[in-house]
Amino acid sequence: MKKPALILAALIGLYSLQIAPALAVQPDEMLSNPKLEARARAIGKQLRCLVCQNESIDDSDADLAHDLRLLVRQRLLAGDTDAQVKQYLVDRYGDYVLLKPPFNADTLVLWLGPAGFFLLAVGGAVLFYRGRRAGGGEAAPVLSEDESKRAKALLDTDGEGDKA
């Protein structure tokens, strides 16, 4: 829907900031029940505006975002739970609509990645300390150099934390 504008921007080589300022949630969209409205806002922040680049429907002034905000409110008025509202959209648009992807086989690496990085980094540090201590005290005899080198090389591998 915003595609023509996008293509035009690309053609003329503009630095294209696809963010439209303000003017997302409109007063006439809002529910009179403040509790429900607060829930709608919270849900809106979790849902991706599909035609925008990376915005939630709560932040976007795109037409589709407006329709989706109305839909979220309709579902809430119909008595859906937050999870049901999100599922309603996932059924139609897929997991892509969720800004926080669900934990499943496809996102395993994403969700476990941070913990993996951490363990790797801690493991590297532990090996570093072990290698050094095995080498003895402050005098750092020749033998420990080799050991520490090994440990350090191991430690360095937690650099993959930044690359994987």
Binding site: P4, L68, R92, G94, K149, R150, A153, L154, E160, A164
Partner: protein
């Protein structure tokens, strides 16, 4: 242990491979903003829409039964729809009914547009608030859904049809569904 020092560069090469492959996909026309539909192979949503032209029939999802249907979401304000429109006109008698859904449009605007561009649709209905579009998983126009005789979505075209897409994707699917 020296080998571990090679890990960063190995991982970087893998990363660069991903980047290179992605760039290749972009060059082949696969944009990162394309979203595949999850509705394919699922029953089409229930809906009932009023006609654009008073006096002509509306359309409801019950009418999918027994016929292959192509549901084409379009709008008069949509620029890419124009190129597709001419192609759709050439699809009469290809073994499916063509249902046009005028998505979030003003009746006068679409009437004027059709008067100018021609009306290729067997049935033409209006989705004024875009609700049916959302139920189909529409995120931009044009989008088209091919629905089998049991009312199941079997194929989705995101963006305008091209002659190649019609030859390679649409018509073989239609033939298969008509078997």
């Amino acid at each position: 242990m020296r080998r571990i020092a090679f890990l960063p560069v190995v991982l970087f090469v893998v990363l660069a491979g991903f980047f290179g492959y992605r760039l290749l996909l972009i060059q082949r026309g696969d944009s990162p903003s394309f979203i595949p539909s999850v509705m394919v192979n699922k029953p089409a949503p229930d809906f009932q829409l009023p006609p654009v032209f008073a006096g002509t029939p509306g359309f409801s999802s019950a009418a999918f039964k027994g016929r292959v249907t192509l549901v084409n979401f379009f709008a008069s304000w949509c620029i890419p729809c124009r190129s597709e429109h001419a192609l759709l006109s050439g699809l009469k008698g290809q073994g499916f009914q063509l249902v046009g859904v005028d998505y979030k449009d003003k009746p006068e605007a679409v009437k004027a547009w059709l008067a100018r561009e021609g009306n290729p649709y067997d049935v033409l209905v209006a989705d004024e608030n875009g609700q049916t579009g959302i139920n189909f998983g529409v995120y931009g126009v044009p989008e088209s859904y091919l629905i089998d005789k049991q009312g199941r979505i079997r194929f989705k075209q995101t963006g305008p049809f091209t002659p190649e897409a019609i030859e390679k994707d649409l018509l073989p699917k239609v033939a298969e569904l008509n078997k």
